[in-house]
Symmetry: C2
Subunit: 186 residues, 2 copies
Amino acid sequence: MPSPSVSSRPTITMESPTAAPASAAVVADEPGIGAWRNFLTAHARVTRRLDEELQAAHGLSLAEYDALLQIAHAPGRRVRMNVLAERVILSRSGITRLVDRLEADGSVQRIACATDARGQEAVLTEAGLDRLRTAATTHLDGVRRLFLGRLDAPALDSLEASLGRVAEPLASGTRTTHEGCPPVDA
Amino acid sequence: MPSPSVSSRPTITMESPTAAPASAAVVADEPGIGAWRNFLTAHARVTRRLDEELQAAHGLSLAEYDALLQIAHAPGRRVRMNVLAERVILSRSGITRLVDRLEADGSVQRIACATDARGQEAVLTEAGLDRLRTAATTHLDGVRRLFLGRLDAPALDSLEASLGRVAEPLASGTRTTHEGCPPVDA
DNA sequence: GTCGGTTCGTTGACTCTGCAACCATATGCC
DNA sequence: GGCATATGGTTGCAGAGTCAACGAACCGAC
């Protein structure tokens, strides 16, 4: 996995009034900053751990796992590269390469889109589904242990609502593209 | 910046009882999973945006900003590489390289640790402090706009508490190393 | 002392990601 | 139909991160 990075909290303070050249301090103790920092820290630590576990047990990165999951959820188990990129939150080139890897190991197959000649779809293979299923037990176990298990129901609800409010407005431009190509089979 | 990746939510379901080879579905609608997904999505989207802004306006990545901030906070504005890595949540080699970059642009200087000959400390230069200060306005503005501004005080408190509980237990081994080398100057 | 095991920071090799450029196709307008 | 523009996916390249291996220094037992 890439890597996190935790930040924030500046403001200006004087170290010592008549101090040497090393003068002003930089820290903001604005209210809410604690939440922000914990947000960053929690994310960095938890995802790092989950990624390690997933990698060790199944040779999958979190991003790859997520991609498999997204495809599995899609109707017909196929998704346009386009849409997949947006869901996994990766650039288009990033998705191209990620799907390359998944295709190389047989978890996914690329097919041309029936209605748009420039389109490609990633479809989950049986092998990919198996892979996802077994990986899921590891992953879910980790999520429960490291995240869900630390929080009670009200906290989870509150978290979901709050973070939903944060995430929503940043949804990338209104998607016009349909998630897959039209019904192909019966 | 690296990159996120959002995941989760498996379970097994049959698509259609007597369906073809493409059989089981994978999705878990375990309670709490919504919170987890929003957590991942919110983080991915917000940090991506903040990173872009910081990069565009000041040529700093979020990780670099964070490192500068951590150093600025430390007493004497110097921190052992060691400790810095842990705070920024980067591997040791990652920190070595990040500090390389900051040193190259004059924001930081490396000095030998007085009490431990194998140690190095990163110290903030005046230029680095300026850089941090100007970047801070951009960054803080972004954090307020994209994160803090979406949440009211109780939500922030709850978030801070919840995510604190998540992050805490994952703190890396009890740090014995002191954050900097002993008092060097007056 | 000194010897074995650790810890510190750096380096080399590699992986993953994004950006910009690219070609192919789609779409709207004339 | 024919052209200008936008969109979809891939590719070259560069940036940033990890892991494993390394030398140097520390630390404790003997």
